[in-house]
């Protein structure tokens, strides 16, 4: 049984994406609900900022319903690779496929409806309340009515324990609260795949574990996820597969047990030697 | 008011001295330019009020730089009937002139506060203005004209009925338009160029201005004519001078008489207003009184 059922909560993700009906409060079994997750395939992408090459042919795949954690030293290009995956950066070479279709040629708006993202800097809208941060994309992109959007939003906030902050402005929240709003906001859009950039960097252990369980639940229900993280404990627990990047390249790629317990490359060995 | 303009020179002289220089009897005028000249120098006669100016020896004249043909700048030279006349008058008094151009709406305050010794911008010495600032006697009466398109159908005062007639804001035309074209709609403009441009573009039917000032436009714009001329004898142009500067008022009035007598006035009149009839009466003219 999933976390969400245990706590008696309605998850935002509980609402079929095909309907704009209010959330049914009677409590459908959560696991009846499945995401129509899409697989992601990053193929030999390269990327430069001016003269600075930051990605030198990066390839990895995220199967449908799989959680892939991307780890690696600072500046190794993890964020850049993630940003390429929903076209916030345009790769200079290579391709990225969503369910086999090239994302570089499809409409960026459609791509982003299908592939959600949570940023390292959260990017909440400071001029709107927390609730409005949630409802704005629901109404605009999902075209929900005001009431339905509000219900979805409140459910999403409740899911991250922030119902009482609905009328706050983002600046009035602590770092961890902001990050949770950002996660809730992206999830409320019910994408097929999610990209998390340091999704737990501002969270305390309780919340980290909460996010972990949320991801597990989402994955079980079919959502594809790529997660950049520098918390090895998190990667080990959350990931089906771990990608280790260094200097703009994928150095190793494998299941967590293999990556953490049996690293092959000296670079990864050195990296993991530092984990506290 | 018309009685003022038709009054003999002597009578109007008396009237003006009563208004502008009540403290000094007519004697101050009959004392003539020589006395004024003397008063500019130290040790003048006690009975005659002294001619005082901002800078001794210089008459600082406030004027406008866009008042053709009365006061304007051309090739960085001051020109115009009013300016040449005041230059001659100043010379008579023993002063040299210095001109400063200013927006018309700021001219009277600048004169009444003493920043300029005198104004020369064809300003009418209306009753209203006399409350604030002193005036010399009138030095110019003339004709006003209506500039119009040949095709407009405006040929005389009566045919302006129902038409839009433009004029310069704050000018004496305002008063004459009320009297002579009572059925026309008056449209005000800040300068004649924009008025004429409006005439050309058809938003007004006629533009009411100084007859002489209208002539260059008929040459520039071959479709314009100036069929109506209106005598404007009861609101003569006069030089504004601070009320308190009674010496200067008296001296200017006296010198004006001199310049009329010695023919300078007529020479300038013919130079700047070619082809315009010379009024039967030469200045000084009396100003209206309430």
């Amino acid at each position: 049984m999933s976390l969400i059922q245990e706590t008696g909560m309605k998850a935002t993700t509980n609402v079929p994406s095909s309907t704009s009906m209010p959330i049914d409060a009677s409590g459908d079994p959560v696991n009846l609900e499945r995401f129509d997750g899409g697989s992601l395939a990053v193929q030999e992408i390269t990327m430069s900022f001016g003269p600075l090459k930051v990605l030198h042919g990066v390839s990895f795949e995220v199967a449908q319903g799989e959680v892939v954690c991307i780890i690696g030293p600072s500046g190794s290009g993890k964020s850049t690779a993630l940003r390429c995956m929903n076209r916030l950066e345009q790769p200079t070479g290579g391709d990225i496929l969503l369910d086999g279709e090239s994302t570089l040629t499809m409409s960026a708006d459609l791509l982003r409806q299908r592939v959600g993202m949570v940023f390292q800097q959260f990017n909440l809208f400071p001029h709107r309340t927390v609730l409005d941060n949630m409802t704005l994309p629901l109404r605009r992109v999902k075209k929900l009515s005001k009431e339905v959007a509000r219900e979805w939003a409140l459910a999403g906030l409740a899911q991250v324990g922030l119902s009482d902050k609905a009328t706050y402005r983002p600046v009035q929240l602590s770092g961890g609260q902001q990050q949770r709003v950002a996660i809730a906001r992206a999830l409320a859009m019910r994408p097929e795949a999610m990209l998390f950039d340091e999704a737990t960097s501002a969270l305390d252990p309780e919340l980290v574990k909460g996010v972990l369980s949320l991801m597990a639940d989402l994955a079980q229900r079919g959502m594809t996820m790529a997660v950049v993280t520098h918390e090895m404990g998190f990667a080990r627990r959350a990931a089906h597969r771990v990608v280790f990047m260094d200097q703009g390249q994928v150095v190793e790629d494998g299941p967590p047990d293999q990556i953490f317990d049996d690293p092959q490359s000296p670079r990864l060995k050195a990296f993991l030697a530092e984990v506290l | 008011a018309s009685s003022d303009t038709s009054a003999p020179v002597a009578a109007s002289l008396a009237a003006i001295s009563a208004v502008a220089a009540p403290a000094s009897p007519a004697a101050s005028i009959s004392a003539g330019p020589s006395s004024a000249q003397a008063s500019a120098a130290p040790g003048s006669a006690a009975a005659v009020p002294a001619v005082t100016t901002q800078t001794p020896g210089t008459l600082l004249v406030g004027t406008v730089s866009d008042g053709k043909p009365n006061a304007y700048l051309e090739n960085n030279q001051w020109k115009g009937f009013d300016l040449d006349l005041i230059t001659a008058i100043a010379k008579d008094i023993g002063l040299k002139v210095e001109f400063r151009a200013i927006d018309f709406s700021a001219l009277f305050p600048a004169v009444s506060s003493g920043r300029f010794d005198i104004g020369a911008a064809s300003s009418a010495g209306t009753v209203e203005r006399q409350k604030i600032v002193g005036f010399s006697k009138g030095y110019l009466i003339g004709y006003l004209g209506v500039l119009t398109k040949k095709t407009s159908g405006i040929t005389n005062a009566a045919s302006t009925a129902g038409k839009r007639i433009g004029l310069l804001q704050g000018s004496i035309q305002e008063a004459y338009a009320k009297r002579d074209f009572p059925k026309a709609t008056v449209v005000e403009f800040p300068d004649s160029n924009s008025g004429v441009a409006a005439l050309e573009s058809g938003t007004i039917d006629g533009y009411f201005l100084d007859y002489v000032a209208g002539q260059p436009y008929t040459k520039q714009h071959t479709d314009l004519v100036e069929p109506i001329s209106v005598p404007a004898f009861d609101l003569p142009a006069a030089f504004p001078i601070a009320k308190s500067n009674t010496g200067l008022i008296a001296a200017v009035n006296a010198a004006m008489v001199t310049e009329v007598k010695n023919g300078t006035y007529l020479r300038l009149y013919k130079q700047y207003f070619p082809g315009i009839p010379v009024p039967g009466q030469l200045p000084p003219y009396a100003l209206p009184t309430s």
Binding site: T7, G8, M9, K10, A25, N86, L110, R112, Q113, G116, M117, F119, Q121, F122, N123, F125, L131, L136, P137, R140, L154, A155, A158, V160, G161, S163, D164, T167, Y168, Q172, R180, M189, E206, L207, K209, G210, L214, A216, R237 | F104, S105, A106, F108, P109, S112, S113, G114, T126, R129, K131, I132, Q169, V187, E188, S194, G195, A198, S201, G202, T203
Partner: protein, 259 residues
């Protein structure tokens, strides 16, 4: 000194001009300023968005428009437009110079306002647009709902500046010729100043301007502050309590078994 007071603060003349100022001038000033500001603002927004385009052939016309209408003296713009379009204007709106004056004023203020808005929008962090677009919002609605509102807020005081400038520029409609009932505040002040040979009516006009602009400024500042800081105190109670919801600040995300 006395003369100075007499020139600028002569109560007789101030009293004399007040009825006209209020009955005629105020109305006309408001008509001119408000309508050209609204039209100008809409145009300015288009210019600002064009100016931020990545494509040079979209930026270029906005740039030229801005440079020309901001650089030319307002009087000239009003004269050229007013006279140039007069025949058309006559046919469409009759002899009143207002429609063309409003158009000219709107073009001028749009040129200035466009630059103000562009600066404001440009100063919003890139992350905001990215944040909105990553949620699937189109570039249009991301700009409209996320970036532009923040950008506009940052330049509210400059927009107030510009509105006040339009209020005053509206006096330039005079160059197109006005009948008495069309005169706005400043013109009435100036007319009366010329006829009375005293500047007090102009001072009266100035004071009326202040009575219009100061309350406006303070209203906008208040709104600005409210928008910046939110209501004085956020509502501390939960907005709604969902069934079985955890207590505030007790995250309900609980651990689950490794899948």
């Amino acid at each position: 000194m006395n003369n100075f007071l007499e020139t600028f603060f002569n109560w007789t003349y101030i009293k004399q001009v007040i009825p006209d100022l209020l009955a005629t001038g105020l109305k006309n000033t408001i008509i001119l300023a408000v309508s050209s500001s609204i039209l100008g603002f809409v145009l300015a927004m288009v210019l600002a968005v064009m100016g931020l385009s990545a494509r040079w052939y979209i930026r270029l016309p906005a740039r030229i428009f801005t440079d020309v209408f901001r650089g030319l003296p307002a009087i000239l713009t009003i004269l050229v437009l007013g006279q140039g379009l007069a025949p058309l204007g006559m046919r469409m709106f009759g002899p009143s110079p207002y429609p063309l004056a409003i158009l000219a004023l709107a073009l001028i203020t749009a040129a200035y306002t466009g630059e103000i808005l562009r600066a404001g929008i440009q100063s919003v962090e890139k992350g905001q647009l990215e944040g909105a677009r990553a949620l699937g919002m189109t570039r249009g609605s991301a700009m409209l709902l996320v970036v532009i509102p923040q950008g506009v807020r940052r330049v509210l005081p400059s927009l107030v500046n510009q509105f006040i400038a339009v209020i005053k520029d509206s006096s330039l409609v005079y160059f197109l010729g006005l009948v008495a009932s069309e005169r706005e505040i400043f013109r009435i002040g100036q007319d009366t100043a010329v006829t009375t040979a005293n500047l007090s009516p102009l001072v009266a006009a100035g004071i009326l301007y202040l009575l219009m602009t100061i309350p406006l400024t303070h209203l906008i500042n208040f709104i600005d502050k409210r928008l910046r800081e939110g209501r004085p105190h956020p509502v501390a109670e939960p907005l709604v309590v969902l069934d079985g919801e955890a207590a505030p600040d007790q995250p309900v995300l609980m651990p689950m078994e490794r899948h």
